[in-house]
Amino acid sequence: MKALVETIVTPLVDHPNDIVVTENEEEHKIVYHLTVNPDDVGKVIGKNGRIAKSIRTLVYAAGTDTKKRIYLDIM
């Protein structure tokens, strides 16, 4: 899952080395936290959050067979 987020984000940013994805498992949910280089924030959020929304859609779709709810935090 972490790898999925990285795969999605890498070609969208100018500084792929600064991508950090952390995983935080709680009782009923798993929270993934994505941080990118400050210059790239706009590139993973997009106009009206359109890119962020697309990334989340894919991550949530991939997480349908896990028992816990999945969240993706950006920055």
Binding site: L4, I55, T57, T64
Partner: protein, 204 residues
């Protein structure tokens, strides 16, 4: 990305040697000259070889396909991808089992994937491509559903003499509705609302 650094007595020789190593031709590579080299005195003292870095030019469509395949694989779905390039339109046709995960409710996962691949392919501003991703004929089935829906709601608008609003849809789905109803002069259609929540209104 494949690249080599090569040396030679002149820049030209260095490039030739690099091309040989990469087994490619000059029109498919980017060449970076790192050092032009120096002949030196009498060809004996202070001569420096030319150094060049030669890399195979990246192919955007191939990269986009790899990107798509990687994402799908990591979502735990096995698919075959067929790529068709027509002018500036790039079609990726996905087939395989468990494809429903990739389509999602009303195609939202497929649309998200399509949007991200389109962004990735157009990162380099040399050419603009429109990306269309289809999964097991989903787009065609959806087109038929939308056409049926459009004609049905047009009848409703005519009968009730009231505007009928559809739910929000992406632009190419709205286009399908507009196109079907264009011929019918008892009604007119237009889109209202702001992206990404624009929707079609059918007015009698």
């Amino acid at each position: 990305m494949k690249q080599v650094t090569a040396t030679g007595q002149t820049v030209d020789e260095a490039v030739q040697s690099a091309l040989k190593q990469l087994n490619t031709s000059r029109d498919q590579v980017d060449i970076d000259i790192i050092d032009e080299g120096k002949k030196g005195l009498l060809g004996l003292f202070g001569s420096k070889p030319a150094i060049v870095k030669v890399s195979i030019t990246e192919n955007g469509i191939q990269q986009a396909e790899d990107y798509l395949v990687n994402i799908v694989k990591q979502m735990g779905v096995d698919v075959e991808v067929e790529t068709i390039v027509k002018d500036r339109d790039v079609y990726f046709n996905l087939t395989g089992e468990k494809i429903a995960i990739l389509i999602g409710k009303r195609g939202q996962t497929l649309n998200a994937l399509q949007y991200l691949v389109q962004l990735a392919i157009n990162r380099k501003p040399d050419q603009y491509y429109t990306v269309i991703i289809d999964a097991e004929g989903y787009r065609e089935r959806r087109r038929q559903t939308l056409e049926n829906l459009a004609t049905r709601l047009a009848d409703k608008a005519i009968q009730t003499k009231r505007d009928v609003s559809l739910e929000p849809m992406p632009s190419y789905e709205r286009k399908i509705i507009h196109t079907v109803l264009q011929k019918d002069d008892r009604i007119s259609t237009f889109s209202d609302g702001k992206e990404p929540n624009r929707f079609v209104v059918i007015r009698p």
